[in-house]
């Protein structure tokens, strides 16, 4: 399913969107496949599918460690992209947004990368270290593959740049919830609420809020503030990383967590 369609569908249902973020292969491929299945069957509307990188400068400790573990499996980025195909094969139908750092497509070749990704069944891309100013080449090389390019906006982004970003962004906008890196946080700050208002004023793209969302209240607050959905990342990894020898034992807890977050997305949307 395409991303736009998903947001339309949710709008019709009157629900906020829930997109969990995982790093593929952490701690192994089998678990990641199970994990995505669990997430989808407990309410995930989209999946942010991470290809690990050795130097994930936009990530916090939890995801740094997830990347390190995932890299120990020594799969190539291409093999990981194949993981998307595997998910499709086992029946995962929600839009998949692939996330990775720019060195991966840059090194593989922008076009080859886009082609592989597209063919494996990906709908959109997030490259956190590729700001709009540097994206021209990438957009050019990949435009034939019709992949949504999701850009980030932050509380520090000023209005001029905001306009530049919304101009070339597609799929949705990733609203950085807070100044900093990924990781769970305690509260939602005023600057984020201001940001949402500002973005809302200049685009109709769906807004997904991420970075530091780990509790139902965060999700409710974000949705109340006007976003169309939320992203959780570290929160899920934190659950299974407490039991890395048999991470599958954590799946029930994760299912419960995902359910709650989706529940918050529904509730929040309807306030």
């Amino acid at each position: 399913m395409e991303i736009d369609q998903k947001f339309l569908e949710l709008k019709e249902k009157g629900e906020g969107a829930y997109m969990p973020h995982i790093y593929y292969g952490d701690p192994n491929e089998e678990f990641s496949l199970e994990l995505v299945k669990t997430l989808v069957s407990n309410g995930a509307d989209l999946i942010e599918f991470g290809i690990p990188f050795s130097d994930p400068i936009a990530d916090g400790t939890t995801f740094i460690e997830a990347c390190e573990r995932a890299l120990k499996t020594r799969m190539t980025p291409i093999q990981r992209i194949e993981g998307v195909r595997k998910l499709r094969r086992i029946g995962v139908e929600v839009p998949i947004v692939l996330t990775t750092y720019y060195n991966i497509p840059y090194t593989i070749g922008l076009q080859i990368f886009a082609k592989q990704v597209k063919e494996a069944g990906v709908q959109g891309l997030i490259i956190p270290d590729l700001p709009v100013e540097e994206a021209t080449e990438f957009l050019e090389a990949t435009k034939e593959f019709d992949l949504k390019m999701i850009f980030l906006v932050a509380p520090t982004t000023d209005d001029a740049r905001l306009r530049k970003i919304v101009e070339i962004a597609s799929g949705f906008l990733y609203v950085i919830n807070m100044e900093g890196v990924t990781g769970t946080r305690e509260s939602v700050v005023q600057s984020t609420l201001d940001l949402i208002k500002r973005v809302r004023d200049c685009t109709d793209l769906p807004l997904m809020a991420g970075f530091g969302i780990s509790r139902k209240e965060h999700a409710l607050a974000m949705l109340s503030a006007g976003v169309d959905g939320i992203i959780t990342g570290s929160a899920i990894t934190e659950i299974y990383s407490k039991n890395l020898h048999s991470p599958e034992m954590s799946l029930p807890d994760i299912a419960k967590f995902a359910g709650e977050m989706k529940q918050a997305c529904v509730e929040g949307y309807n306030r």
């Binding site: 130097d55 936009a58 390190e68 890299l71 060195n103 090194t107 100013e133 906006v153 100044e179």
Partner: protein, 397 residues
């Protein structure tokens, strides 16, 4: 600015450079670029920086004709004595400049990373002089290897934060400093330590360091009545090299040599020779020559010279080497220690292990220079910080 930089717009040096960072950092980088462009050329900034460099830093540093070393090499070798700069290496040129800029931007705090500790110390010094709080991120392995510099930074009142991610060295420390910066851009300046990182850092650092080359030019003309035949500098990020090279880039008759860390051998995991083993990639916010594995993951570099232990080359030096304006070379660890011994004996100077790479290169290639050649080695730092390592190498312990 009237600097002879090779960068184009948007911080590009050929296909290298750029600004590949999270959106959270974009705004502060733009502000920084603007601040640099508006403050740096002013008379006031130049005066303030000039006084700091002169009276605090000890500039100009001498250009020393190393007679005994020259006899050994068989041509005239001059040493540009950055080891005499306050703190013991060229790092302070940049730290004073950026700290002053940060003060103008009304930042309250400096963060930075360090490997050998030289940059960390210079940042702590500059921070104290300008009344800014300082926090330094340092890989846990590097903290062990450069224990005395850790003590020094702490005595200067800087907070030294251990970086446990990755292999606990410079690459990981840069990553963690970028992460920290993302949380505090409004109050804090990232005092980037070399000509690496997202634009405008490579340009800023190169500008502040190019005082080295400007002085070389004046001094060599005063002493020899002409430009040198070659300039040799060691490096990883490239700040001391670019600093020395910049005013000569347009002077085609001056050959420029850049020497990176060969490590123990050019085998996969034992080197820091990114120009030999690396390829273009994106790391820490810029396109650079980077050492990577088959999975497009950045590789950890390895060399006994902690300050060269970085798997990427800064955008400008990457470009200058790609276009062959600068010739790149490397020196192996054992050659570097030998060069230390030679410099101690001939000139009574104990060079930093980093600096000794440039010396080792000159020793190894001495037959490429004829008797009348004039060589300038950018003598980037003193070896006090490496004393234990060097003594251990020669005497065991």
């Amino acid at each position: 600015m009237n600097l002879q930089g090779t960068h184009g717009s948007n911080g590009r040096f050929g296909r290298f450079g750029g600004r590949y960072v999270s959106e959270v950092l974009m705004q502060v980088l733009i502000e920084l670029e603007e601040a640099f462009e508006s403050y740096y050329p002013t008379v006031e900034f130049q005066r303030e920086l000039g006084v700091l460099l002169k009276d605090y830093g000890g500039r100009p540093t001498p250009l020393y004709y190393a007679k005994n070393f020259s006899e050994l090499i068989g041509c005239k070798v001059y040493l540009k004595r950055e080891d005499l700069l306050c703190g013991g290496s060229h790092k302070l040129n940049n730290s004073l400049g950026q700290a002053l800029l940060a003060e103008k931007m009304r930042k309250k705090r400096l963060i930075t990373e360090t490997a050998a500790g030289q940059h960390g110390i210079s940042a702590a010094m500059a921070g104290n002089v300008l009344g800014l709080e300082v926090e330094i991120f340092m890989g846990i392995r590097d903290m062990e290897r450069q224990e005395s510099n850790v003590k020094r930074m702490r005595l200067l009142g800087a907070r030294v934060t251990p970086v446990k991610t990755g292999s606990g060295n410079l690459k990981d420390a840069v990553s963690d400093t970028l992460r920290e910066w993302a949380t505090c851009t409004r109050t804090t300046h990232y005092l980037m330590g070399s000509t690496v990182g997202p634009h405008p850092f490579p340009e800023i650092v190169a500008t502040f360091q190019s005082v080295i080359g400007k002085e070389i030019k004046e001094q060599i003309v005063e002493k020899e009545g002409k430009l040198p035949d070659a300039i040799v500098a060691c490096g990883s990020g490239g700040s001391n090299a670019i600093g020395a090279f910049r005013p000569f880039i347009g002077e085609d008759e001056v050959r420029l040599y850049f020497v990176e860390g060969g490590g123990s051998s050019l085998d996969a995991d034992n080197s820091a020779a990114a120009f030999v083993l690396g390829k273009p990639g994106i790391l820490h916010g810029a396109a650079m020559m980077v050492m990577q594995d088959e999975q497009a993951q950045i590789k950890a570099s390895k060399t006994r010279a902690v300050g060269l232990n970085y798997p990427a080359r800064g955008p400008e030096i990457s470009h200058l080497c790609e276009t062959r304006r600068v010739e790149s070379g490397y020196a192996f660890d054992h050659e570097v220690f030998e060069a230390v011994r030679v410099m101690c004996k001939t000139e009574g100077l104990l060079p930093a292990l980093e600096t000794a790479h440039a010396l080792a290169y000159v020793l190894n290639h001495h037959d490429e220079f004829d008797q009348d050649s004039i060589l300038v080695v950018n003598y980037s730092g003193r070896g006090d910080k490496d004393l234990e390592t060097i003594a251990g190498y020669f005497y065991g312990n």
